[in-house]
Structures are given as C-alpha cells and as structure tokens.
C-alpha cells in the first residue's frame, strides 16, 4: 500500500512541473508581458525596466523560469496589484472558506446523492426512480449562478430562513484562529458563531453541490443496477444470505467503487465551480477572489491562485486514488 502511495506521489511531480511551465508561459503570453501585467498600461518605460531587472526578466527565458519555479516552490507568487499583499497570504486567508464550502457541498451531494441513487435503482422504474433521473438531468442543465440566485431569492430574501451572503453575520464579532469559521467557533466555544458560520454555508453549499449531486445520483443508480445483475450477487443470494447482508456486503460495496472516483473528480471541479457560487453569495473565498482578480486584471493573483488550486485539485484526486485502492483489492496489488 505504501509503495502504491509513494509511486502515485512521484507521478505527481511531472504534472506539477508541467503546470508551473503552463502558468509561467501564460503570464509571459499576456499582452505586454509580466511587467505590464504587474504595473498596468500606464507604467513608464523606466518603471518597466526597473521591474524587469528586479525580477530578472532581462535574463534568458529558462533562467526566468527557474527563478519562477524557485519562488513558486517557496509559495512566493509575488504581490497582488489590487491589495498590494502577498498572493500566498491572500490565498491562505481565503482558502479555508472555500474548503469549508466545498466540504459542505460534497457532504450534501454525497449524503443525498448516494442514498437517492441507491433507492432509485432498488425501485427501478418507479416514480421515485424517474423523478431521480429527471432531477439528475436537470441538475446538470441549470446554470449554477442562476440556481444560486434563485436559491437566495427564495430562502434568503422571500422566506428569510437562511443567510444569503458572506461567511458570517458581521454583527457577531467572532474570533478567528484558523479562518475555518465553523471550526473557530467550536474551538473558541462561541457556539452561536459556529452555528451562524454553518448557516452561511447552507445556500452556497447547496448551489455548489447540485451538479455533483446530480452526477452522483446518476452514477450510483447506474452502478447499482449493474452490480445487482452481477453473478456474485446471484451467488450471494444462492447462499441464502439475509437480504440486507447481500446489499451491504455485496451490492453497495461494489457499487460504490465507480462512485468514489466521481466524488474525487467532482470535489476538484467544485473548486472552480466556487468562482460562480462564491461570487453570487459574496462569499469571501478563493473563488470570489478570482472573480475580483479577473476584473482588477490582478494577474499575480490569477496565476498564483490557479496554480495553487490546480495543485489542490491534483492532491484531491490522489487521495481518491488511494481510497479507491483501499476499497478495491484488485488495484492495491497492481
């Protein structure tokens, strides 16, 4: 098992290198190049020259790349043109929010999706099944930001049940240690703060979780339908095992294999889906930061954030592969 993990970790290296090259090239390809990108169109030639010298842009391209890589490895992606703060600082400040949101969304998607998909398959052809199918189709067809608006209009504005924006009611003066607000609330025993932060996750979380939910329902349903027809399930029945033993040990366990992969992929995609959702819900996470960066032409932020997000994405998928290995003995040996 350990060797499996180590090998997968090693396989990451080329990918991450490639990523860095890509984003390095991206910044170079920007109109006016990095100096302009950092200093803006109004920058004087002297200023540009100063900047180029400062960041060694007068050197051969590969030297520049190595410098870039060197700094990237130390998580130094320069400073934001908008706030004048280190990109990494901004990222670390905002990532926790996005993580909380993503986790909520995924828990929602998995918690609802798998049971629903399973039931749909069990009651194959029933109204429940068809509604699940239709719903899952709609789920992927609705533009996320529109859904987000609808949710907020209904539950935050009309019904006023849930907060419609932000990460925490500003009137609550909560202390923040980790920037994971829910966690902070629990650590500092400010229960109301924790609860409030949690409530702020609900609407954006649901909006964000809808697509994965739809997909998970679909996959679960399909794979349960497959597994139920597998020979080994027939065997299990032939052995006269109790119905739920058959389900638990033989159906569900195998049906979840494909689902687990999807979960991983989706978790990664949520990171980018957050751009839309966080924007609509004015949720102070990485996504809304990227949105702002787009309009402020804050390329340092864009480059740094996208790179770091991609890394997170890759790592998440690694975790999934590993968990897949745990679930499926066949993978483990190979």
């Amino acid at each position: 098992m350990l060797r499996f993990i180590v090998r997968r970790l090693l396989q990451l290296v080329p990918i991450l290198l490639g990523l860095s090259v890509l984003l390095f090239a991206w910044l170079r390809a920007l109109p006016g190049g990095p100096a302009q990108a950092a200093l803006g169109e109004r920058a004087t030639p002297e200023a540009i020259a100063r900047y180029n010298e400062l960041f060694g842009l007068d050197q051969p391209i590969w030297v520049q790349y190595l410098r870039f890589l060197g700094r990237a490895v130390q998580l130094d992606f320069g400073t934001s043109a908008r706030t004048g703060r280190a990109v990494t600082t901004e990222f670390l400040e905002r990532m926790p929010g996005t993580v909380e949101l993503t986790v909520f969304a995924m828990v929602f998607a998995v918690g609802v999706g798998i049971p629903l998909g399973y039931l749909a398959a069990r009651k194959h052809g029933s109204w429940l099944d068809s509604t699940a199918v239709v719903g899952s189709l709609l789920g992927v067809a609705i533009p996320v930001f529109f859904l987000a608006y609808l949710l907020r209009l209904l539950f935050a504005v009309e019904l006023g049940w849930l907060p419609g924006s932000g990460r925490q009611e500003v009137r609550i003066d909560a202390t923040h240690i980790t920037n994971f607000y829910v966690l902070d609330g629990l650590l500092t025993r400010e229960w109301d703060a924790a609860w409030d932060a949690f409530l702020h996750l609900v609407l954006p979380g649901i909006a964000l979780g809808t697509i994965p939910l739809a997909i998970i329902v679909r996959i679960t349903r399909a794979s349960v339908l497959d597994v139920v027809n597998e020979d080994y399930v027939r065997t299990a029945n032939a052995k006269g095992l109790a119905a739920d033993t058959v389900r638990r040990r033989h159906v569900v366990r195998n049906a979840l294999l494909p689902v687990s992969t999807t979960i991983g992929l989706q978790t990664g995609l949520l990171l980018s889906g957050a751009v839309l959702t966080e924007t609509v819900f004015a949720f102070g996470g990485v996504g809304s930061a990227i949105y702002d960066a787009i309009f402020a032409r804050d390329f340092a932020i864009l480059q740094g954030f996208i790179l770091m997000l991609a890394v997170v994405y890759v790592l998440v998928n690694l975790l999934v592969d590993i968990s897949y290995g745990l679930l499926d003995p066949r993978v483990r040996v190979r």
């Binding site: 080994y232 065997t235 032939a238 052995k239 195998n254 040996v333």
Partner: protein, 356 residues
C-alpha cells in the same frame, strides 16, 4: 471423456425424491416486448444421491430451470408456473424468508464462471464464513476454522492463507473449488451445478467433476448437473433430460440414451461428439443451424426446422395438436413424431435396459 469411464452400476438411491419439479414454466414478459416462454411445462424429479443431467444447447432453458428451482429469478417481468417441491415443501410462491432459509442450507448451487461468481472486493474467507454464520449460526472464530476445513475438503492447499486472499489471487480451478466449498458448507440435500466446468481448463474440469462425484457419493446429496457437454453427462449422470426450446424432448437412463438416442436432436448431439472408438476418418455429423432457428412449440416441433426426419405433420397446423411428451419404453419418455429407429434388439436386452 468417453462412455468407457462409467461409475459403478449401483449407486445409493433414496426412494423419496429430494426434488420434484412438475409442469414448471417460466415466462419473461418485459415491457414493450411480446412475452417469451423460456421454460415450458418441465417436469422431473431427483432422489437423494441421484445425479440428474439437464442437457441442451445454450438458450434451451436449462439454466433458467435451475434458477427457477432456486427461486433466483428476478421478481419483476417474470412469471413462474407449475410446482417445485424440495423434500415436500412447495417453493413456487413461497415467501422470500423461507427461500432464503432453504437456500445455502437445504439447496445450493454452483455457477458457471467462478471468477464473476465471486465478489472481487470481499476476501474468500468472508465469502465462505458468511454462509456458516447465516445458516449454522456459528461465531466468527468457529466459522473461520470450519471454513478452513471446508477449503481443505475441496482440495485447496494451505486453506488458512487462502481465506485471507481475494478471488483475483486464486486460479480458476481454486475459485471453483471455493465456490463448491461454499455450496456444500451446510451439506445441502440438493446441489445444482450449472455448467460448473465450462469455464475451466480440461485437466481442471476432470478434477472438479471427480470432486463433485465424490461429494455426492459420500454425502448422498441429490445433484442436478446442467451442461451441454455430453462427456460430463456420461461421466456423472444417472438419468438425463434433454431440453430443447424450453421443453424436455427426451428422457432416459444414461445407458439407453447413449446406446439408442430416439429424438433426432439427441442423436445429433451424440453424433457431433468425437468418439475414440469411432474409426478414423468417420466424419462428425453436426446439427444444421443453431438454437435460434427454433419455432414456437405452438406451431409444431421446435426442432423441425433443423431436423432431417421432419415431416409435414411435425407442424401443429398439419397434425392438429402440439407434439406431446409420451411414454417411450420403460424409463424413457420422448417428444417426437418421427424418432430415430433401431433394428429390433433381442428381448433380453430390452428387459435388461431399465430395471423393472
């Protein structure tokens, strides 16, 4: 395998049949499509220690019959008619709980493809012990010990290690042995083996058959052997039912069947098996076409389109009635209007054919 290798004449025979199947019929009616009758009025019985073969090409309904007996057919879109009694208890329409209690303990089944029949994500150990835990309410420890014993009994070396392994780590033969071990875990009264050897290498086939035979012999289990391989039949079965298009078309003791097949289909099957005792150069005579060419029994003999003896009266509309399954000499039944005929044999021979 050939007729030469035959089991001892007198195997142990219980008089109360373990399994009685009467007029069993299975109809698949899937939405939008016209219902198809996969099994049509099949009747047979198996006594303790007896081995009965269901023979026929793939798609003739023999597997469906076995699944119907085990009650493993899906509930929806399937109608099962007739009666199946296991040691007197009616199984058709019996509640799921009863069936589950009987399965694995009273009746067990061994399937064709050992790899796909084992759960890839669960260790062999668990898959064996779960039966014991279920039916012989053993504790975990006890069950593991017993499981090891079972694996040992079906000839798997180093059982304790194997218990920890997963299906993909075992060889085909071992997998099948493991499956058999699970099937016999509660020494059931009825064992159905559905093409247990087709997926295996020839050498392994022989071992598995041998294993099955021993088990039947010394446990007195009733064995239903489903196969298309006459070699297996010859090696194992006491009585043989030949099926075609969902119906039994010929029933006989092994000897008679092999000596004097009456249904042209049976004849065809035998003729298409290479025989060692046939002189060199004698060509194999295969049956024309494939099982797909059958016609519905309602319109005549399903085999007619492929049959050389077929006459116009093989068709219902000409004969006015479907071809019936009729008495055809002691211990024999036959569904055919123009059977294969043989020069009258000496009376003695006939008498010695099937015991009175």
């Amino acid at each position: 395998m050939s007729i030469e290798a035959m089991p001892p004449e007198d195997a142990v025979r219980g008089d109360v049949p373990v399994l009685e199947v009467e007029e069993l019929s299975v109809t698949f009616a899937r939405r939008g499509e016209q219902p198809t009758r996969a099994v049509d009025g099949v009747s047979f019985s198996v006594a303790a220690g007896e081995t009965v073969g269901l023979v026929g090409e793939s798609g003739c309904g023999k597997s469906v019959t076995s699944l119907a007996v085990m009650g493993l057919l899906p509930r929806r879109g399937v109608q099962v008619g007739g009666s199946v009694r296991l040691g007197g208890t009616e199984l058709i329409g019996a509640p799921d709980r009863t069936l589950r209690r009987l399965r694995g303990s009273e009746m067990a089944m061994v399937f064709q493809d050992p790899l796909s029949s084992l759960n890839p994500t669960v260790s062999i150990g668990t898959q064996v012990t779960e039966v014991l835990v279920e039916h012989r309410d053993m504790g975990k420890k006890e069950a593991v010990a017993e499981a090891a014993a079972l694996l040992d009994r079906v000839g798997i070396p180093d059982p304790t290690r194997r218990l920890k392994e997963y299906p993909h780590q075992l060889s085909g033969g071992m997998r099948q042995r493991a499956l058999i071990a699970m099937a016999l875990a509660c020494s059931p009264r009825l064992l159905i083996a559905d093409e247990p050897t087709t997926a295996l290498d020839v050498t392994i086939q022989a071992q598995i058959l041998e294993l099955l035979r021993e088990l039947v012999v010394d446990s007195g289990t009733a064995l239903v052997m489903i196969t298309h391989d006459l070699g297996v039949v010859a090696g194992l079965c006491d009585r043989v039912h030949v099926m075609y298009a969902g119906k039994i078309i010929e029933t006989a003791d092994r000897h008679d069947l092999f000596a004097r097949p009456r249904q042209p289909y049976t004849g065809g099957l035998l003729a298409s098996v290479p025989r060692l005792d046939a002189g060199r150069g004698v060509p194999l005579t295969p049956i024309r076409g494939s099982a797909r060419d059958a016609i519905p029994w309602a319109e005549g003999c399903a085999f007619a389109p492929r049959c050389d003896n077929a006459q116009d009266d093989c068709l219902t509309e000409v004969a006015g009635s479907t071809v019936p399954l009729e008495y055809d000499g002691p211990g024999r039944e036959l569904r055919c209007r123009h059977p294969l005929t043989y020069p009258a044999a000496p009376a003695g021979a006939t008498a010695s054919g099937a015991g009175r």
